[in-house]
């Protein structure tokens, strides 16, 4: 499935919001003020996130409407990144705000005995010399210059803003109806289905970044649909979504059937005996493994803080996995596997104005340079990458992952299952946690499917206490335990058509807080042994 580029189908892109035009112009005039000292690097980041959430259960139809909007003034003085963030966009107030901010920075004493690390701002020529996805390059005017207002709009097919509130609730009611019907088909009594919730979220995210060389904006449409079904305390989830239009939230019959079959199976599930096992991870669980492994340890600010073993190992050239262990981070996935829409963790530029690019973090077991935000790139003296992200405009910027995934292999799913023989299939994630210095790892799994002789037995297992299962271990041991990987197109023998594996809808917390959106995915991978408990 690829983009339909016939002359009848016009590419539709999210436009820049006209009501932000005047603000963008006004703010760009403030940049020289933020660079009033010769060694200062000044920039401004603005974001506006508007979201509507429609939610239905058996007793209520609910709606929320949120708008979060604010800007961040930034001065980097060679030692410290100073930020002043506000949602007061009144021009007179902003002028006072900037004045007070500049005074604050001037009053801060630089550290003793430390030379400043000056930042040299790259120009457009330098930025365009990097390898950029066509989706990005095609939206940059040919004669771009510092004053050019460049806008990147996410591509979509079915306008997510067209459907009315009534239309959304009718759609959710239809899905609930389908769930009840499917429940009967899989043998789940209606009275046993104690809770159903369907939630549709649609967000419009506008942002722009300004510095002396750059004036760029982007508008993303973020759409997701989440289904939750419960039988008593047992619960199954299904979540679909991406960046684009309503085409990102298409549900299939097999997905709904699986959701309810699993719920029924959970009510009769046995408990796993903790131990070492042979397991196939599905794409999302594979993505969580990539995210928690190298992943978090390859976040530049963690390296700059001395908190990552990966930084030392990268310099030693040490191997931390076998030939199957190749992990990417990529905010520029504008076609998610075979889909025509962008992956959840994608964008055109990060919140510090760096254009999105694919990056290899781990290459067949060998660590490469980490992801960065501005200050970590400067401190580590390595190239910048597009990984400066915040929970919102009011939060600080950290090095954050975007879409993190394993590279694909060459097996079909059937071939992997045959290789597995007796073991388990894990496709439902339940969180995870990194240990960047100690190199432990935790990947949560909601439940396992039992496999015997390469075939699913229909049995489902929960953790030893009846809850989630945790895969834990020493990260290099786990990455050396990968036996084989599937293709992206798992059910065909032919070479992959898609460039990237599927990256699922997800999120990430850093240092136990600071939540951001992130995609994670990859192929199916077969590992032996892994510790499950």
């Amino acid at each position: 499935m690829g983009m339909n580029m016939t002359s009848q189908n016009k590419i539709m892109r999210a436009p820049f919001s006209e009501e932000l035009t005047a603000l963008r112009k006004q703010l760009s005039e403030f940049i020289p003020l933020l660079e009033s000292e010769p060694h200062w690097y000044g920039s401004i980041y603005f974001e506006r996130k508007r979201s509507r959430v429609y939610s239905s259960n058996q007793k209520q139809n609910q709606a929320t409407d949120q708008l979060n909007m604010g800007l961040v003034l930034r001065i980097y003085d060679g030692h410290t990144l100073f930020e002043e963030a506000t949602d007061d966009l009144d021009l007179h107030h902003l002028k006072s705000f900037i004045s007070a901010f500049i005074q604050r920075v001037k009053a801060s004493a630089p550290p003793q005995g430390v030379s400043p690390r000056t930042y040299r701002v790259p120009n457009w020529k330098e930025k365009l010399s990097l390898k950029l996805d066509p989706e990005i390059r095609s939206q940059i005017p040919e004669s771009v210059s510092p004053g050019t207002e460049v806008h990147f709009g996410i591509r979509y097919e079915q306008d997510p803003l067209r459907l009315s509130t009534e239309g959304h609730f009718l759609r959710l009611a239809e899905i609930i109806s389908q769930i009840k019907e499917k429940a009967k088909q899989v043998g789940l009594a209606q009275e046993a289905l104690s809770f159903i919730n369907v939630r549709q979220s649609i967000a419009v995210e506008d942002s722009f970044f300004l510095d002396r060389e750059t004036n760029i904006s982007q508008t993303l449409y973020r759409v997701a649909l989440t289904l939750m079904t419960m039988c008593g305390a047992e619960r199954t989830f299904l979540r679909v979504g991406g960046l684009g239009g309503m085409e990102t939230v298409h549900l299939t019959d097999p997905e709904l059937t699986q959701l309810l079959s699993d719920l029924k199976a959970l009510t009769q599930a046995e408990r796993l005996v903790p131990g070492k096992y042979r397991v196939i991870f599905g794409p999302v669980v594979t993505g969580v493994l990539a995210h928690e492994a190298f992943g978090h340890s390859q976040e530049g600010d963690t390296c700059a803080r001395g908190r990552s073993k990966a930084w030392e190992l990268h310099h030693e050239g040490a191997r931390v996995g076998n030939e199957h262990a190749t992990i990417f981070n990529n905010p520029a996935i504008f076609q998610n596997a075979g889909a025509t829409y962008a992956a959840w963790g994608s964008y055109f530029f990060d919140e510090e104005g760096w254009l999105a690019q694919e990056q290899v973090l781990l290459d067949q077991g060998k660590l490469l340079a980490p992801m960065t935000n501005l200050t970590s790139a400067i401190r580590l003296n390595i190239p910048r990458t597009a990984n400066g992200k915040r929970e919102s405009w009011s939060s600080g910027v950290y090095t954050r992952q975007t879409n993190t995934y394993f590279s694909a292999g060459d097996k079909t799913l059937d071939e992997l299952m045959e290789l597995l023989g007796d073991g388990y299939l894990a496709t439902q994630p339940a969180g995870g946690m990194e240990d960047p210095k100690g190199m432990g790892i935790q990947v949560g799994i909601s439940y396992l499917y039992e496999v015997r002789n390469g075939k699913l037995t229909g049995k489902v297992l929960k953790g030893p206490a009846g809850g989630d299962i945790q895969m834990t271990g020493y990260t290099p041991d786990v990455l050396n335990a990968i036996i084989a990987k599937s293709k992206i197109d798992v059910n065909t023998d032919t070479p992959d058509q898609s460039r990237f594996p599927y990256n699922d809808v997800g999120g990430c917390g850093k240092y136990h807080k600071e939540f951001v959106f992130a995609g994670c995915g990859g192929p199916y991978i077969l590992l032996d042994p892994v510790i499950l408990g």
Binding site: T64, L67, F82, M433, G438, G444, Q470
Partner: protein
Amino acid sequence: MTQLNWTLDELKHQLNIHEKIKGWIITEEYIHRRERYFLGENSQLAIDQDRNVHTKSTQVRIFVKLTDPARQGEISKKFFSALPLKSQLESSVEAALHTDYQAWDLPKLPASQEIPSITTLDPKMAEDIDQAMEECTSRISSCVQKKRNTLFNSAELFMAIHQRELHLSNGLTHRSAQTRIYTESAFSYSKRLKDGKIHSDEYMSTQWAVHRDHLPIEALFDESSDRAEHSLQVIKPQPGKYSVIIDSEVLLTLLRGYLSQLRAAYSYHGLPFIKEGSEFIPEATGDLLTITLDPTLNYGASSTSISNQGIIQKPLSVVTQNKVTSNLVDQQYGHYMKLEPTSTEGNIVIEAGTLSYQELTEYSPQVLEILQFSGLFADPHSGTFSSEIRLAKLHDRKNQTVTYIKGGSLSGSIRENFKGLKLSKSTVMRSHFSSEQSHGDGYLGPEYALITDVSIVG
């Protein structure tokens, strides 16, 4: 952008005169936050980022009349003063008209003298947050310069003042303020192995508080340094079932989720529900839990005088000697289920036990004391929880040894592993805030708890 600032009074007026609107709740919050991110540079404290944040939000919950008087519509929306008021209001009402809830009414306006006064503000932080930031930075700098076997890696310091105004369409206006402070510190320890390779690990400690006096910065830094040093003297646990000591932070995490099963809303929606009169922990034989939700604790993270629905909050006994003594009934769901509303907010206060920390460590032949979980995930519906073990101590009573443990995972269930619960006699106060916008979670209770028969895999 056109600046179309409107006032709160204008918003209230428009809400009151709108023919479709039957009621509303406005929560206005102004937050001033300072943040510093530190790292070590040439054995000194360096400031990587220094932030100042001002944010104001106006969150409105609007209730609208539907054709069927037994039903109503509702929407929660953040209103922005830089955007036109009328268009925000009309789009909200239009959307709310398509939602569907069983109808309910806000409570009668309580007499102002009935609303208790609670202390939730660190006065010095509130008076001059920048000065408070400088003082704490100076303390952190001293902690970093203290001679240690470990290496300081990084720290963060956040201070915030939250000022809130609650306005209800029944005439209630209530003002409150809360300070919040967060600190984390990370230290690492290294040693050179015989083959020349460097073996290293780290430990990060974090803590929240409402008042600076409840955030022992120096002790936190000493703890992370000490535990980093022990992180290299570790072995993996042997698989099996253990008696496990968990601390107050873990107790707060587990119980705040599990206690949601006492909410009337859960019963209404068919979610797992523990009703009044039931056993809180089925077949409990250890220390029987007595839990109060107390919204009046000075500097409690969950302290509040009045709920967002206008119900005065008072201490509420929810569990007494393992029996559920009260469900949590807010105005909305009380209306639905024909129950009297109760307090629904408050810090979790647990009656202390009788054992000392030493006695807990000797309770079983081997006791695993969790110092830190890597990432504790707890399911509020089933009461199950699991995590990798970041660092623990294995107390062996027979051999009189204490061994540091790292790795492996723990898998537990409140319903199963809390049966033989033993609580410490020492108590602590704890706070946790998961996001800027939400109320916090507060705790006052046993510093440690011992749970039994917990599955561990190495």
